[in-house]
């Protein structure tokens, strides 16, 4: 789960001798521990939050409560997965909220009063998302325009397009075919489809990032773009692909949004982009790229969603949610800085005590 190593292998057979095993293995376990600790601590915070809320109000974890938690977090986890891939390359995609909204509305218009099935809707949403991602990605990678500006522009453009198209109208659940709505509310063996889909996308993405050259190269690009260029990595193509992926996931999430809520307006997910970025950062991805895993990002998303629900259950004024998200974000960034500094120092001392 670390950035640098596979977890599959046991202690190496090709370990260089001398110095003794402890001195040799220590740096790795140190670096790996740091990353594990990062993810474990978010996981731990999540468990504490859930337990605490449950003790205060047992209905938090009854069947309906758990299902709500899973459903609420599914789309955020999905978006965080897409965002992570972009953030790993030292870029950012602020347009995801608008893409979700536009895709949800487009899918809604497409199926309203028709009998199209869920597959067609998901394909449409994904295709639309890929298109948006390719535009952002092309501007960032080939146009050399800073990602922040490009995707902020895309955010407004897509929002505007959505509003112009919708004319204040909305898609009504009554017009959406039951087969589509079933995707958002049904499940297998009591587990809703949505979290299952998110988990599948998350797992595949994590596996790709860890075990495929393309995935490793995304880490390399984020770690040092200059070194990546000199190593002959097709930098622009990879960044473009990362944006296309993020767009695809957002568009896909838009289709799921429609399936979940049925009734959507053109700017359905307005403001979500910042929640997604927060989730990713809280989850341990460095905003400067090259560090972190999608598992961490998913945990971050779970943590933020759970916190929102917990505050409702605990009858805390929901305005506090934003403040707490902010504190978590700042704490995560500070922790990363301190940890990175400490690790660097420790690693340096390994060779030159």
């Amino acid at each position: 789960m670390s950035t640098g190593t596979g977890t599959s292998a046991g202690p190496g057979t090709g370990t260089p001798k001398a110095l003794g095993p402890d001195a040799e293995r220590a740096p790795r376990s140190l670096a790996e521990t740091v990353l594990r600790v990062r993810e474990l601590s978010i996981g731990g915070a999540l468990v504490l939050l859930v337990l605490g809320t449950w003790l205060a109000n047992p209905s938090f974890l009854d069947g309906q409560g758990v299902e709500d938690l899973l459903l609420n977090s599914a789309i955020l986890v999905l978006l965080a997965t897409g965002q992570s891939v972009v953030v790993l390359t030292r870029n950012i995609d602020l347009s995801v909220g608008s893409v979700v909204g536009l895709s949800a509305f487009a899918c809604g218009s497409f199926v309203s009063g028709s009998d199209h099935g869920p597959v067609a809707v998901l394909l449409l949403g994904t295709a639309l998302g890929v298109l948006c991602g390719l535009v952002s990605g092309a501007l960032v990678s080939f146009g050399q325009v800073p990602a922040l500006v490009v995707t902020l522009g895309m955010l407004y453009v897509l929002q505007g397009v959505g509003h112009a198209w919708a004319h204040g109208d909305q898609i009504n659940a009554a017009d959406v075919p039951d087969s589509v709505l079933e995707l958002g509310s049904g499940g297998v063996l009591g587990v809703p489809y949505l979290p299952l889909i998110s988990a599948a996308v998350l797992t595949c993405t994590a596996y790709y990032l860890r075990s495929y050259r393309g995935g490793r190269e995304l880490y390399a690009i984020g770690s040092s773009p200059e070194a990546a260029r000199l190593a002959g990595i097709p930098l622009r193509r990879r960044v473009l692909a990362a944006y296309a992926f993020s767009g695809a996931v957002a568009g896909f999430a838009g289709a799921l949004w429609l399936a979940r809520f049925g009734t959507v307006v053109a700017d359905a997910a307005n403001g979500w982009e910042l929640t997604v970025v927060s989730a990713v950062v809280v989850g341990g991805l460095a905003i400067t790229g090259g560090v972190g895993t999608v598992w961490g990002a998913a945990l971050g998303a779970l943590l933020l969603t759970t916190m929102g629900s917990a505050l409702v259950v605990l009858k805390v004024n929901p305005f506090w949610e934003q403040a707490i998200t902010g504190v978590l974000l700042l704490a995560a960034i500070c922790a990363d800085r301190v940890v990175r500094h400490r690790t660097t120092e420790a690693l340096r001392k390994r060779r030159r005590p």
Binding site: T3, G4, T5, G6, S8, A9, G12, T13, G14, T15, P16, A18, L19, A23, E24, R25, P27, R28, A31, R210, S211, Y212, R213, R216, E217, Y219, A220, G222, S223, S224, E226, A227, A228, R229, L230, A231, G232, I233, P234, A286, G290, V291, T343, T344, E345, A346, L347, R348, R350, R351, R352, P353
Partner: protein
């Protein structure tokens, strides 16, 4: 060392023919040819800005020549990017190793070329084992799975060499690999390179240390201002011959150092220490004197002058200007006392690129150029005009942005900016890095004139001929300590380098201690 001549006359492994490359109006390479043969080490010599880096990047596939051809085994090739060059077996080790700090050593070596297993998945075990085998072959104790972050420059270079080994490089290009290495580390590197060469690799070696060129290489190509000066065997050449080819004239002509009479002490530094960076540094600079601070990259020279000027806070020790102690960590106090610092990196630290030339020059004296917090435009312009004339600055209008000037002229603007404060002590950090020979001579003439007028000059420089040509006294730093002080008469390339690499008796002890700590057998 004995190296067999290439048998018969086989085609060179890699060659350039009449290669030209321009960046904007700057002609970096003008019709340069070069041939690298298997099993032979070839040196590339030339001053900063002579076109060595451009040539290396052309071989590496980073730049494509405007005209001329790259020949691989005698056949013309076009490299569309670094990946193509690498696929052709060309490994390049840059002066500053380019590693992925967040990734493991093993991943750094195999990035983009990882061994795969079923379904085109990366075989992490194979990557790690192959790396361990490479590192064993190089005889170094590095954990393949540790992140590259925190590796010393020497170890980073080892990782780069392991990378070259991993794809059986036929051509190994090294751009000043020894610039930041100690004597022992250099020996280790050379042993590895020599082994590779004996196995049939062609080596292109760039170094400013002429003794190293003679030690490792059989032949040399010299560049000057982007043009080929000579490509010849090293046998029969002396170091002086090489220097003459590099600079195109004798050193004495290039460095217009005047003899000056030195006055009272202007700057005195007493036992200055910054934990982990430099220790116990004491020296003085007198009026009318140019003192050079020499040493390898990373020896702590820039850090010392920044602490003297108060940009960085020293942990202990004091700085006295004309006998009065400076407040620590305050550049304002330093400026008021008559200190001026021309920083190393003019793009980052010396100039505001978007601002006009006159604004840049006026920045250091805003409070003298107006009243009540307002700056008078006319005063600003007058001050800029004076200094521009005095420094023979070449420009269209003083209102042009500083960014449009050439490197040499930018450096003059930075100098003007600080000279306008009429300092007692001028500290210059790498005053001529990356500027052309002509402007370089002008900067030298200017420094010399200023010293003759009674200014105390402290100059940090990595350019050895410049140090030897300009300085009245040479202070040498090694790993954060001042290890030698050489008067002009005793300062030679050998004596300065010996001290800088820790080879003098005085530092042998320090180096031995460092080695013990390293745990090398």
């Amino acid at each position: 060392m004995a190296q067999a001549a290439p048998a018969g006359a086989p085609a060179p492994v890699l060659a350039l023919e009449e290669v030209t490359k321009s960046f904007g109006s700057v002609r970096a390479l003008r019709g340069v040819s070069l041939a690298l043969h298997a099993g032979e080490a070839h040196a590339l010599a030339g001053e900063n800005g002579a076109g060595k880096s451009t040539l290396i990047k052309t071989l590496a596939g980073v730049h494509r020549p405007d005209s001329g051809t790259v020949l691989l085994d005698g056949a013309p090739v076009t490299f569309h990017g670094p990946a193509d060059a690498r696929a052709a077996g060309i490994a390049v080790i840059y002066q500053e190793p380019t590693l992925f700090a967040d990734l493991s050593v093993a991943e750094n070596i195999f990035m983009g070329r990882q061994p795969l297993r079923a379904l085109r998945r990366v075989d992490h075990t194979a990557v790690r084992d192959a790396t361990a085998a490479l590192l064993r072959r190089l005889g170094v104790d590095l954990d393949p799975e540790r992140p590259a972050r925190g590796l010393s420059i020497a170890d980073q270079q080892i990782v780069e060499i392991a990378k070259a080994l991993s794809f059986d490089a036929r051509v190994l290009v090294m751009d000043e690999p020894t610039a930041a290495l100690t004597g022992t580390e250099t020996d280790r590197l050379f042993a590895v390179v020599e082994a590779l060469r004996k196995e049939g690799a062609a080596v292109l070696f760039v170094s400013h240390r002429l003794t190293e060129i003679f030690r490792l290489c059989r032949s040399v190509t010299t560049l000057r201002d982007g043009a080929l000066v000579a490509s010849e065997p090293l046998a029969g050449l002396t170091e002086d011959d090489l220097v003459r080819r590099m600079v195109g004239r004798d050193l004495d002509a290039l460095y217009a150092k005047r003899d000056t009479r030195t006055g009272e002490t202007a700057l005195e530094v007493r036992r200055l220490t910054r934990e982990g960076v430099f220790h116990d540094v004491s020296f003085e600079v007198r009026r009318g004197e140019i003192v050079a601070l020499a040493g390898l990259v990373g020896a702590g020279r820039s850090e010392v002058v920044q602490a003297v000027f108060g940009v960085d806070r020293a942990d202990a020790g004091e700085v006295l200007v004309r006998g009065a102690a400076l407040r620590r960590g305050s550049p304002t106090a330093a400026m008021d006392a008559g200190l001026a610092l021309v920083p190393e990196d003019r793009r980052q630290q010396g100039l505001v690129m978007e601002l006009s030339i006159e604004r840049n020059i006026a920045l250091t004296g805003l409070h003298t150029l107006g009243r009540g917090g307002l700056v008078r435009r006319a005063a600003e312009r007058a001050r800029a005009g004076d200094w521009a004339a005095r420094l023979r600055l070449r420009f269209d209008r003083l209102s042009d942005a500083a960014g449009v000037l050439s490197g040499g002229n930018q450096q003059k603007v930075v100098l003007a900016k600080w000279l306008a404060t009429e300092p007692e002590v001028l500290i210059v950090d790498e005053p001529t890095r990356g500027i052309d020979v002509g402007t370089k001579a002008e900067v030298h003439r200017l420094l010399s004139e200023l010293a003759a007028e009674g200014l105390a000059v402290l100059m940090v420089s990595s350019d050895l001929p410049e140090v030897l040509g300009m300085a009245d006294r040479v202070l040498v730093m090694h790993e954060g300590r001042l290890v030698a002080e050489l008067p002009r008469a005793e300062a030679t390339e050998e004596s300065v380098l010996a001290a800088a690499t820790g080879r003098t008796g005085a530092v042998r002890r320090t180096e031995a201690a460092a080695l013990d700590g390293e745990g090398t057998p």
